[in-house]
């Protein structure tokens, strides 16, 4: 990671530096001084995104039916896991019934695990509904607008949705968890025009923020949490410091250290590129990474690439 592009430092030194960074991050993650409201706090002081989400939840009627479009990516879901679970708890505390649907196989895996976790944590079975995995990508999503309840689904929530037509119109809110191929953008494009009365809220990993922010501006999304800091602010607003919180956001100190290291690596590569006789930035970074691993990047099977 920190080996010089000119080979001045050995791969062994690069490996040791990489291990040192991991140990440092681990120590920072363990210490978590930011949790107690110290100088380093992850939560965004600008609470406008949190306010939008909480306003959307506050506007729900009593005992609302909420559709959870869970299509997180196995590789990036850990980033938003604490926020998603806090949203579940927030909704359940408001008396909501949660119906889970997925349009990607990976999302289905995450949804199954979350449903299992919620059941184990004591949430009444009647307040949870597993709508399963809907095939057909965009076409399947369009079909689900009018017909989303599987024939074998049972329970009070399933009955209520059937009585209200059996489609997405039976729900008061859609909370879309993104990260996979069919995320909030696809919901906005396929469900939004067909069901404009259904408010859509999105929770997505940080990398999706540039893609999704314009939908918030046009009102196609009523709320969006797509950065770590907004997510941390939301978690803090629902679970104030000091309360039991099994799903914590990453340590602020560890994130700060990691970002400083990342900036140092980028800066070093940039300096090498600018002063290294015409070597491009991309080549310099590749050389850095290659030196850290002491060899070419192994090719990962396409099916195994998590994100």
């Amino acid at each position: 990671m920190t080996a010089g592009v000119d080979g001045a430092r050995s791969p062994r030194a690069a490996r040791l530096a990489t291990v040192a960074v991991i140990v440092l991050l681990g120590a920072a993650a363990f210490a978590r001084p930011g949790d107690e409201g110290g100088a380093i706090v992850l939560a965004n002081p600008d609470r406008s995104r949190v306010t939008e989400l909480r306003s959307a939840l506050a506007a729900l009627p009593e005992s609302p039916a909420v559709l959870i479009g869970l299509d997180g990516d196995l590789g990036t879901y850990p980033e938003i896991r604490a926020v998603v679970r806090t949203a579940f708890d927030d909704l359940l505390a408001r008396g909501a019934g949660l119906a889970f649907v997925s349009f990607t196989p990976e999302g289905r895996a995450v949804a199954s695990a979350e449903l299992d976790r919620l059941a184990r944590s004591g949430v009444a079975a009647g307040r949870l509904l597993d709508l399963g995995f809907v095939t057909g990508a965009e076409a399947g999503m369009v079909r689900a607008v009018t017909d989303i309840v599987p024939a074998d689904a049972t329970g009070a929530l399933a009955d209520a949705v059937r009585e209200a037509g059996g489609g997405m119109a039976a729900f008061n809110l859609a909370v879309v968890v993104g990260g996979g191929d069919l995320g909030p953008r696809t919901w906005v494009e396929q469900v939004g025009p067909r069901l404009p009365s259904l408010p859509i809220v999105a929770i997505a990993p940080t990398f999706a923020q540039p893609e999704l922010a314009p939908y918030l501006r046009t009102g196609q999304l009523v709320a969006l949490l797509a950065t770590l800091r907004d997510g941390a602010a939301y978690v803090a607003s629902v679970r104030p410091t000091g309360t039991a919180n099994p799903d914590r956001v990453p340590s602020a100190l560890a994130m700060l250290i990691g970002m400083i290291v990342a900036l140092a690596v980028i800066g070093r590569s940039l300096a090498a590129a600018l002063g290294g006789g015409g070597q491009g930035v991309a080549t310099a970074i590749e050389a850095d990474v290659g030196a850290a691993g002491d060899g070419p990047e192994p090719s990962a099977p396409a099916a195994a690439t998590p994100s």
């Binding site: 791969p11 490996r15 990489t18 291990v19 991991i22 991050l25 681990g26 920072a28 993650a29 363990f30 978590r32 590789g75 990036t76 850990p78 980033e79 896991r81 196989p105 289905r108 895996a109 695990a113 976790r117 399963g132 995995f133 095939t135 990508a137 965009e138 076409a139 369009v142 074998d152 906005v188 494009e189 396929q190 025009p193 940080t206 990398f207 540039p210 314009p214 501006r217 046009t218 196609q220 950065t227 770590l228 099994p246 799903d247 914590r248 990453p250 340590s251 560890a254 994130m255 990691g258 970002m259 990342a262 691993g293 002491d294 192994p298 990962a300 099977p301 099916a303 195994a304 998590p306």
Partner: protein, 213 residues
């Protein structure tokens, strides 16, 4: 930490497997490739197995084969669907015209829905929101800047098309604007991936080693 694993024997075993595979993947940083490749193959194999399982249990059996077996007269439309599945599965031994039919339907339907949704759900609403929004000077200014950047970036894609000096300069500006945008997006990506590393370290420290709860 991640809450997916219970405290029973299966949960403990899963935690150990997850921790050891994590360390195995990270061993690549120290130059150890065999364990890393083993983990890669394990992931690929499990992903394939999972996909096969989900296709059988959640699609083919409950939505195609069982309805046809129980009530074929009530599900006549599933018969051509079954024929398409058979054509797809047996594509290796069938004429290209037959094997290509389900693929053509898949690609055509996906493209139609995706393109239609992009136009009606993204392009038109975003254009309306950017250009025809409430007429405060700030919003109009933002819209004009957005329009200018979009036009310049689109010009940047005009590779090989002859143009004058002004068009060339605009295309060059669009090219650099695109690189700037990609750089900004990579910044978001770094933060995203960093949080995953920290989360995994927390998993090892808390769920596996039990150092802090």
């Amino acid at each position: 930490m991640n809450g997916f694993l219970g405290s029973d024997l299966a949960g403990v075993a899963a935690t150990w497997v997850a921790a050891l595979v994590t360390i195995g993947v990270w061993s690549y940083l120290l130059g150890e490739r065999r364990v890393f490749r083993l983990a890669q193959h394990l992931l690929a194999g499990m992903a394939t197995g999972y996909l096969v399982l989900i296709a059988l249990r959640e699609i083919l059996l409950p939505r195609l084969l069982m309805p046809l077996a129980n009530d074929p007269a009530g599900h006549l439309l599933l018969i051509p669907a079954l024929a398409l599945v058979v054509a797809l599965a047996g594509g290796r031994w069938l004429p290209r015209a037959v094997a290509g039919l389900p693929v053509a339907i898949l690609v055509g339907a996906t493209a139609a829905f995706a393109l239609g949704g992009a136009v009606s759900g993204t392009l038109l609403p975003q254009l309306a929101g950017s250009v025809l929004g409430p007429g405060t000077p700030l919003n109009v200014g933002n819209g004009v800047i957005g329009l200018a950047i979009t036009a310049l970036v689109l010009l940047g894609f005009l590779h090989g098309i002859p143009g004058g000096r002004i068009t060339g300069a605009a295309a060059g500006a669009g090219h650099w604007l695109l690189i700037g945008a990609i750089g900004g997006w990579l910044g978001f990506l770094v933060v995203s991936r960093l949080s995953l590393v920290v989360d995994r370290l927390s998993f090892l420290l808390t769920s596996w080693l039990g150092l802090a709860r």
